[in-house]
């Protein structure tokens, strides 16, 4: 990533006549201060990010329950998950539906809106940015959707539909298995213009103006060609970063579902892997089993990120 950016501060040790291990050791001693500087971060990072992942993988092969010493059970937890746990199958399906819709749609929405507002004057752009970005930073403001779609006639949507005579009795939106998934997806999308959106705005702003001038000379006719041939290839690093942010958050909308539909959601209609994880880990203390769930979710997240990175690296090639 930053091959040429680090500075050789003191005189580098000559690499000749030294084994790789010796050279590394010398370099390490020479840069002692760097290790002191990264130590606080790396220690905490190891403790709160790396160790939990490693421990989860370990526990997923045991029957740990927080009280007794864990016993090694091999892949029994995984077998139980895939063969005996019907609700887990629903959870996997819902998680994928959620991520496959929310991830790409929020990504495209972020990109399109950022592109739409790029040519506006700075003041108007700042206001529009705020309008689109605000829902993602306003905490649990999305619960207002619960009020809008409230299941009684005081709910605005039900009230309007009743008034217009389109329905004869209220629809219990967040208690109806047919409605919960689509509604939760809409709400998740509403809160999804976050970090990737800002990154795209900055990426578009940073494109060198002369590329467009050169493009015009080379015969680019309209803004669509400009977008495809100049804009997107020039902001590839942002596209990559935005993709990672969008994918990761598209798996993290469990809280939206819980706050709007309760837990568990009706007929498990919006039950995701994250809820399943909470259920077994947080409520039943089956650490071994829930670790297996966590490992699978972890694998899905990392896997889809790597996949999308591979696809995006082909943009403009």
């Amino acid at each position: 990533m930053s091959k040429n950016t680090a500075v050789e501060t003191k005189k580098a040790v000559s690499r000749k006549d030294m084994t790789w291990a010796q050279w590394t050791w010398k370099e390490m001693k020479r840069n002692k201060v760097a290790y002191v500087m990264v130590a606080p971060f790396m220690i905490l990072f190891t403790l709160f990010t790396v160790a939990p992942v490693v421990l989860s993988i370990f526990f997923s092969f045991t029957d740990f329950n927080l009280l007794q010493t864990p016993n090694w059970v091999g892949i029994e937890n995984y077998i139980r998950l895939f063969l005996d746990d019907d609700i887990f199958m629903i959870a996997i399906q819902n998680t994928f539906i959620f991520a496959v819709i929310v991830g790409p749609v929020s990504y495209l929405m972020s990109l399109l809106v950022a592109w739409f507002i790029n040519e506006l004057s700075p003041k108007i752009r700042a206001i529009v940015t705020l309008v689109f970005y605000a829902p993602s930073i306003s905490g649990e403001i999305y619960t207002i959707w619960g009020t809008l779609f409230s299941s009684d006639s005081q709910g605005w949507v039900n009230g309007k539909l009743l008034e217009l005579g389109l329905i004869t009795s209220e629809i219990k939106f967040f208690q109806n298995a047919n409605w919960v998934m689509p509604l939760c997806i809409v709400v998740a999308l509403w809160t999804s213009l976050g970090t990737s959106f800002l990154s795209f705005i900055a990426g578009l702003q940073g494109i060198n103006q002369s590329y467009y001038e050169a493009g015009a000379v080379d015969g680019i006719k309209n803004r669509w060609q400009e977008l495809w041939y100049i804009t997107l290839p020039s902001m590839k690093p942002q596209l990559m970063f935005g993709a990672i942010m969008s994918i990761t958050s598209s798996f993290g909308f469990g809280g939206v579902v819980t706050n709007l539909c309760g837990f568990p959601s009706v007929d498990y209609a919006a039950h995701t892997i994250m809820h399943h994880l909470d259920d077994y880990g947080g409520a039943r203390y089956e650490v071994g089993y829930s670790s297996a769930i966590a490992v699978i979710l972890f694998g899905i997240m990392i896997g889809s990120n790597i996949l999308v990175k591979k696809v995006l690296s082909k943009v403009g090639q």
Binding site: A6, N31, A294
Partner: protein, 290 residues
């Protein structure tokens, strides 16, 4: 990176009127979708009781009142842990966590961006990889780790993990890569400045947009934090948790609930309004090249 363009994009290409109209139309539709729920929340918070329960319901408030806000403050008075305690908890955790994060992450980011040492790139890549998964995956094992260190049900459980955010380190390191020139670092070393001094006196003042961004991200996360699984004592719970708790007490409190939401969103939104240009500048170097 070059300074961000602030003047209007100089249009050299012909922009078709149809395209302009289409884009404006899309933008307006999406904008309405984004802003209407916000407007509804604000409108709800000013509705008197009879308007909250009228049929057919009105979207906009007709005769606005502040009674929902005063109800909310009355409800705060009767909570059995004094409300000022919840406010103190959130403010204290937000400030302590953010300050620690700024220091710990910038220090590590400087070393990774400006010093070439064995393992540095591997460390950075590991941190960057962790951006790919959501922290809920590790919630249960994190609980076990915090229990081992006796951090459960203390402020430490909220503050210490906030010190090391992968996104914070990532943005800071990327920004330092592009905005702290090597020659300046080198000449500081030639003048006899230590690595720490160069970090603090030379590099940090050059990356102000990045630390503002880091502050905002960290602060937003901590400010919006509701109930935490690591905290049981009522005395340690957050303002957000408490305000949601009292406002969620049944349908009678719908107005107070809306007022609570509006109050909670005011802080992150105003902070963003003030710092927007800095955040966008930082995001300019957020890109991932490999």
């Amino acid at each position: 990176m070059a300074k961000l363009r602030t003047r209007r994009h100089k249009v050299i290409l012909s922009r078709s009127a149809g395209g302009d109209a289409g884009i404006t139309f899309m933008l307006v539709i999406l904008g309405i979708f984004m802003i209407l729920p916000m407007v509804y929340a604000i409108s709800q918070s000013f509705k008197p009781l009879d308007e909250l329960w009228m049929f057919p319901p009105r979207f906009f408030v007709k005769s606005p009142t502040l009674s929902n806000y005063s109800d909310l403050f009355k409800l705060m008075d009767i909570s059995w842990v004094p409300f000022s305690r919840y406010i103190f908890n959130t403010v204290f955790v937000s400030i302590a966590g953010t300050a620690g994060n700024l220091f710990v992450s910038s220090l590590a980011a400087y070393a990774m961006a400006k010093i070439k040492f064995p393992g540095g790139r591997v460390m950075f890549k590991t941190v960057r990889t962790s951006l790919m998964f959501h922290s809920t995956v590790t919630a249960i094992t994190n609980f076990i780790i915090m229990k081992t260190f006796h951090m459960i049900d203390t402020y430490f459980a909220l503050i210490v993990p906030a010190f090391c955010t992968s996104l914070g380190l990532y943005l800071m390191k990327q920004f330092m890569d592009t905005n702290v020139p090597h020659d300046i670092v080198e000449s500081a070393h030639l003048d006899g400045a230590s690595e720490f001094k160069t970090f603090w006196v030379i590099a940090m003042p050059m990356v102000k947009p990045a630390w503002l961004t880091l502050i905002i991200y960290s602060f937003q996360g901590l400010w919006n934090a509701g109930a935490s699984v690591y905290i049981h004592s009522e005395q340690l719970k957050s303002f957000n948790y408490a305000i949601r708790q009292i406002a969620a007490g049944g349908i009678k409190r719908a107005g107070a609930n809306a007022a609570a939401m509006v109050i909670m969103m005011l802080v992150p939104i105003s902070v963003f309004v003030i710092t927007q240009s800095n955040i966008i500048e930082t995001m300019g170097s957020s890109g991932m090249k490999d």
